[in-house]
Amino acid sequence: MLQKKVCLLGGFGVGKTSLVRRYVQSIFSDAYLTTVGVKIEKRMVSVGAAEVALILWDIAGEDGVTGIRTSYLRGAAGYLLVVDVTRGETLEVAKSIQALVTSEIGSVPFLFLFNKTDLKEDWDLPEQSLEDLKDAGHEVLRTSAKTGEGVEEAFQALAKRMVS
């Protein structure tokens, strides 16, 4: 059995928890997020013939970067950065988190998840920003907690990059 620690990161209210809720196994209540600052969830993914257990550390980020307990990042094999497309500033938060993570644990695979894409008219980000990230060599996926769009793919893609 292969296991990988994956951190789920993003600014406050970007919908990290609700994004993955339907796609993960969990035995802990959301209260852990506010008390301990992290909630552990699990997602099984197949990469080729291998079964990989993604142990998701849904890390609370009350006020962006500073609220993150860096000790929770330790040992992560990859991470997901969630951005709320209806709030443009969350992209900057995600970028600073990415810088923080890189400085803490070095360079590991990660994905940008542009969340709440179903709210098309409320987009607060230019399409260009997405393209810019792609151009910078980052992998970006559009997701929606409401429709479930992109979530499976995100896990799959991250797992693939972590295992290879």
Partner: protein
């Protein structure tokens, strides 16, 4: 060290080139036709190269052929090789001068150690004994240095060790106090005395009851689960999630209280939730978390620690480089399962005999009591029934009060004695009390008894019941019959009939003969004399004799007889005087009979005076005839 180490690769390379040149030269010398005139230049160059090679490596100097002579060549050699020679000399000096050589080595020593350490464990093995010796030497020289080095470490280790041993002691003390003053505690104290172990140990033995339900081996850095074992039949949440959360909480605690815990690395050691206990043992790369139900002994800490140490010893590098693939580690289930200890309070398999003897005895006692009561009640019922059947007793109530049977009712004094009946009934007389009201029963049997008591019948009479009638049969003196009639007439109305008709008067011929004989005697007196006339003694003797016989007869018949002595006087003279005279005559006769052996109390004296004259056949009374004493026999009780 006279020459550099034999492994200089660069030298070997040069050597190889030179060797090929040598073979070329060899061919030249053995085969002159190949040597052309302008080959002389080439030969010189070859010789020069040989020289260069020889100067670089002393081994080659002996192996290579020498080319003698040619001072020009020597001059050229020294010219060409001057710089190299200087360099070699410098090197040589570096090797020869220990200070310079040490300086050179020191600059590469750190890198060399790193490289050697990375390759294999040879360096560590080689260094270990030297380090031991060095440490020993250091301690001999100045123990303070090593103490100074170890102090920060020692402090934490000692503190932890003391804390754990205190924990154990406290646990024991707690248990000991808890059980010191109970009945069980006393028993355990006896057991401790008997077995020679300490009381605290005995208490622990009896009370420690725990079960390690889960053991998680968790990678510290990633929080990933390396291995998990659970006790049989223990359900659990997804261990991967649990281990992640445990790891997160450890981090959280460590972050939150880092400031207060200077010893560092201290996460949660013990966590208690109800009767579930979480014990964590931290190692450098992984930690063990044991979920325990109950009160584990402190020794479990040691067991967990040992397991963790062993795993670290065996898989140190794999743990350090753990990337989430448990396949890189060997079998960890077996060592972890050893920690799934459990200890159950020894169950009492053999039931104490008291457990069933006591209820049985109680049951028997209760049963016995019920049976006893039933028996007593039956006996009381039988006894009361018996009383009810008894004439002259009316039982109104029989009840158990204050531990005694209280029997109350009416009883004729002539009825049977209940106490006597009680003694025949197998009842404890002390447990029966009587409350009788006296009354007169009209029951024929009681009436019979009452008549018998009142009439005092002579043996010749028998009273019996015939149906409801009391019947008297037998021979009795007339006086008794009279008395019986009087008594029967006085019986209350409703009394049973009493039949006296079967009684016969006593008609014993002997009695009648003697009575008639006695009553036929007359004692004559002279005029005005109170003593019998002359010649009357014989009559008196006869009277006395016959009365004695009569007494014998009456005694045989069951009654007694008395004799009345009547004194008479003639009508001559004063009547009052005559009365006195007649009384005197009777008295005199009585004393005379007494003198003849008749008990005076059987004799009654009566004075008739002249009032009962004895008449002659012509109807005339003669004075002489009436101066007399006569006798009457009276039958009596």
């Amino acid at each position: 060290m006279g020459r550099p180490h034999a492994g200089f690769e660069r030298n070997i390379a040069i050597g190889d080139t030179v060797s090929s040149s040598v073979s070329l030269l060899d061919r030249d010398s053995s085969d002159p036709p190949f040597l052309q005139p302008d080959d002389a230049r080439a030969k010189r160059l070859a010789v020069l190269l040989f020289e260069v090679a020889r100067s670089l490596d002393h081994d080659l100097a002996t192996a290579l052929p020498k080319f003698e002579g040619d001072p020009k060549l020597e001059a050229l050699r020294s010219l060409i090789l001057e710089q190299d020679r200087a360099a070699i000399a410098r090197l040589q000096q570096k090797f020869d001068d220990p200070r310079q050589f040490a300086g050179a080595v020191s600059s590469v020593l750190a890198d060399a150690f790193t490289l050697a350490g990375a390759r294999d464990e040879q360096l560590a093995k080689a260094l270990a004994p030297i380090l031991e010796l060095a440490t020993q030497a250091s301690i001999r020289k100045n123990p303070g240095t090593l103490v100074g080095i170890l102090y920060p470490l020692m402090g934490s280790v000692v503190r932890k060790s003391i804390a754990e041993s205190l924990d154990g002691t406290l646990q024991r003390l707690n248990q000991a106090f808890k059980h010191s003053f109970s009945w069980q505690g006393l028993r355990w104290r006896l057991e401790a005395l008997r077995s020679g172990s300490s009381f605290a140990d005995v208490v622990l033995k009896h009370t420690v009851q725990f079960r390690v339900e889960h053991v998680f081996l968790i990678h510290r850095k990633t929080g990933l689960l390396i291995e998990h074992v659970a006790a049989p039949e223990v359900t659990s949440q997804d261990p991967q999630l649990v281990s992640g959360m445990l790891s997160a909480i450890q981090d959280f605690v460590r972050d939150s209280f880092e400031g207060t815990n200077k010893s560092g690395g201290g996460g949660i050691d013990t966590l208690r939730l109800g009767d579930v206990l979480l014990w964590c043992e931290e190692g450098p790369f992984a930690f063990l978390a044991a979920v325990i139900r109950g009160n584990p002994p402190e020794s479990l800490h040691a067991a967990l620690r040992e397991t963790l140490t062993n795993i670290h010893d065996q898989y140190r590098s794999q743990l350090e480089e753990f990337q989430g693939d448990s396949a890189t580690l060997g079998d960890l289930v077996t060592p972890l399962q050893r920690d799934l200890q459990q200890q159950e309070r020894p169950r009492e398999t053999r039931l104490s005999p008291w457990l069933w003897i006591l209820p049985l005895v109680l049951l028997l006692l209760a049963g016995g009591w019920v049976i006893q009561r039933t028996i007593v009640r039956l006996r009381v019922d039988a006894y009361v029934q018996r009383l009810r059947e008894e004439p002259g007793i009316v039982v109104a109530n029989a009840e158990l009060r204050n531990g005694k049977w209280q029997i109350s009712g009416l009883r004729d004094p002539l009825a049977a004695d209940p106490a006597v009946l009680l003694s025949q009934s197998r009842l404890d007389s002390k447990r029966v009390a009587f409350h009788w009201e006296s009354y007169q029963a009209l029951n024929p049997a009681i009436v019979l008894r009452r008549l018998a008591a009142s009439l005092n019948p002579p043996p010749s009479v028998s009273l019996s019941l015939k149906g409801d009638t009391v019947e008297a049969t037998g021979s009795v003196p007339q006086y008794w019959v009279e008395r019986a009639r009087t008594l029967v007439a006085a019986l209350p109305a409703g009394s049973p009939k009493v039949d006296l008709s079967a009684l016969r008067d006593i008609q014993d011929p002997e009695f009648i003969r003697l009575r008639n004989a006695i009553q036929g005697h007359i004692i004559a007196f002279d005029s005005n004399a109170d003593r019998p006339a002359r010649g009357e003694d014989a009559t008196l003797d006869a009277v006395a004799d016959e009365f004695r016989q009569l007494m014998g007869v009456t005694k045989r018949l069951g009654f007694s007889a008395r004799m009345m002595i009547s004194g008479h006087a003639d009508a001559v003279g004063n009547e009052t005087a005559n009365l006195s005279l007649s009384a005197a005559r009777a008295e005199v006769v009585r004393s005379m009979l007494k003198a003849r052996g008749i008990a005076p109390e059987l004799l009654t004296v009566r004075s008739a005076g002249p009032l009962e004259p004895l008449l002659a056949p012509n109807g005339k009374a003669t004075a002489a005839m009436n101066r007399r004493v006569t006798f009457t026999v009276i039958a009596s009780e």
